[in-house]
Symmetry: C2
Subunit: 346 residues, 2 copies
């Protein structure tokens, strides 16, 4: 059983997942993994994963058989487990709890060599649908306070399997960074009765220089204080705290914007490794002990997607301070991507 432990000085939870099977001397940099017989996520190898939780597949195919377009399966080496009780407790001044939660893998395509940047948007739309379905299902469990939905692409981004996939982790605490965002959103709303994300978006749209894609329902931009070169955020233009409520037409539009962003990053950075993170709201089913920022979520929180290309090393300065040095101005990144897009259209 893994454990969640809280740093007593910095308010941060860490999952200690020692049972994941690595010995102290047993660290390796991830390398690309081959498809075919050895790949647990390739079509035909369905028995190499735990039984599927949800899939997009023709009606005449059976679960855990070939023929699918997308599968969601439990992670075979989960950092958290769904069975048991959270069992919050103290050890002297330290706080800890059992590693309860869910750790799922979205197998995005039967094809080992599919890349999201190539699209088509319809294939990305299926991934976005899987996130909605699993998010809604996991949030029926009030123990699970937050769902982290993310994709690691490429070895530099920490992907240990090359087969296209993303991950969903439902955790029994609200992570530190999400908590900061929720608090900031609540404080801002308290002062202005407006959403801080809506205002940020309005300002970026007015200034124009960091906008990459300005589409009917979604805006992709390089944020003012980007941590990483070519970091991109995608916001829905209309205020909404609930990703799962996104309609299917809107979802198809989002898929297209994502595909464009990922495709434009290639000429800029040469097929970079990247992480993306879908920032959703915490679980409204969480009741006793929930902090006051939970109540105002529909008004002050705004879901969004962050795309983080992994081209710079994070070093002592960043680890020690939580302060970042970004060698590319976000205006320059946006300009570069707009130029790529304009050439593409011509």
């Amino acid at each position: 059983m893994s454990e969640l432990r809280k740093d007593p000085i910095v308010d941060r939870w860490v999952i200690i997942a020692a049972e994941r099977g690595r010995r102290p001397t047993d660290f390796e940099t991830p390398r690309p993994t081959p498809g075919g017989a050895a790949c647990p996520l390739c079509e035909g190898n369905e028995r190499m994963t735990p039984p599927e939780l949800w899939a997009i597949r023709p009606e005449d195919t059976a679960p855990n058989e070939p023929g699918w377009q997308l599968r969601v399966v439990p992670n075979k080496f989960p950092a958290l487990r769904i069975e048991g009780d959270v069992h919050r407790r103290g050890v002297g001044m330290f706080d800890m709890m059992d590693g309860i939660g869910a750790h799922e893998v979205v197998v995005e395509s039967p094809r080992h060599d599919w890349t999201m940047a190539d699209g088509p948007p319809k294939a990305i739309d299926r991934v976005l649908e899987a996130y909605q379905v699993r998010l809604s299902d996991l949030y029926r469990d009030p123990r699970l306070r937050y769902c982290v939905i993310f994709r690691n692409y490429g070895s530099e981004a920490g992907a240990t399997l090359s087969h296209p996939h993303s991950q969903i982790m439902a955790v029994p605490v609200v992570p530190r960074r999400t908590k900061s965002k929720l608090k900031a959103a609540l404080e801002y709303y308290g002062r202005k009765e407006r959403c801080i994300f809506c205002d940020t978006l309005a300002q970026e749209l007015a200034l124009e220089d960091r906008i990459v894609i300005d589409e009917e329902e979604f805006v992709a931009f390089a944020p003012f204080a980007s941590r990483f070169p070519f970091e991109l955020h995608i916001y829905p233009r209309e205020h909404s705290h609930d990703y799962a409520a996104l309609g299917s037409e809107s979802r198809a539009r989002l898929a297209k914007v994502m595909q464009q962003c990922l495709a434009y990053l290639r000429p800029a950075l040469g097929a970079p490794s990247y992480n993306y993170v879908l920032n959703v709201a915490p679980n409204p089913a969480h009741r006793p002990g929930r902090p006051h920022y939970w109540e105002t979520l529909p008004y002050d929180y705004h879901w969004h997607l962050e795309i983080l290309p992994r081209v710079t090393q994070v070093a002592g300065f960043e680890w020690g301070t939580g302060f970042y040095i970004n060698p590319v101005a976000p205006e320059d990144a946006a300009q570069f991507l707009r130029d790529v897009m304009n050439e593409d259209i011509r």
Copy 2:
């Protein structure tokens, strides 16, 4: 001129250092660099760096000539510059200021192939003395609110030059992570009239299982909620907020503990890349507008060193949430290092 920009939602400053000369397409993973004629930090190449700010060298040698044991020089490609005014300003809802500060390099040895893990402790002591001298000097400038002192060792840790060196960055804001620590320390002191770092240390010493080195003046331990495998913290046993006030005998002891920690990590992790960060107190010379946690620093803040081996990839989960998965329990790491140490002594 670089800029400091603040994320309007998460309270975090980023240095946008676009002038550091990299074009958008121009990213490379750091690789080991050769010594000799091409290395700007090797002995004999003193003219390849800006003039030295401080050095340890025999009296019969002139500044910027060979013969030195340690040099401190300004970074040739600084992320921040000392000349000018901070010029704090808003752009709509965004906050920014000019990139004022200092960015210095501590050249730790004339020898390209010296490694800190090999010692001798006397060579590390010289590095620790350089940190004291530069910290005291930089804190005479009230614009510089915090000094980040760190070492990147190895390509995975972001070191762009292989010659042994560390860096000092003096910044015009208190970084986010330091601010969290200062606030937590103040709150704890307000409740208990005790230092949270002293209490953490006392608890670790009582529990014993995460202690690696328990020496007369310093304790090295694997913290309860370690972010990374084999993360180690070194605390002075006696409460002190002021690293610069450390006496020379105590400093020599610290050098020895550091050398042992770095040496023991080798059999554990195979000569890992690592970052270390010396967490000092913010600049007491900062006057107008300083938050209340500044006043109580001598009582509630406790300087400490964090050693962060870079053996795991940080991925979407961590970037998105500020929440970490650590595959090695700190008790196991400490046990492993104690075993190495005991074999070493036998």
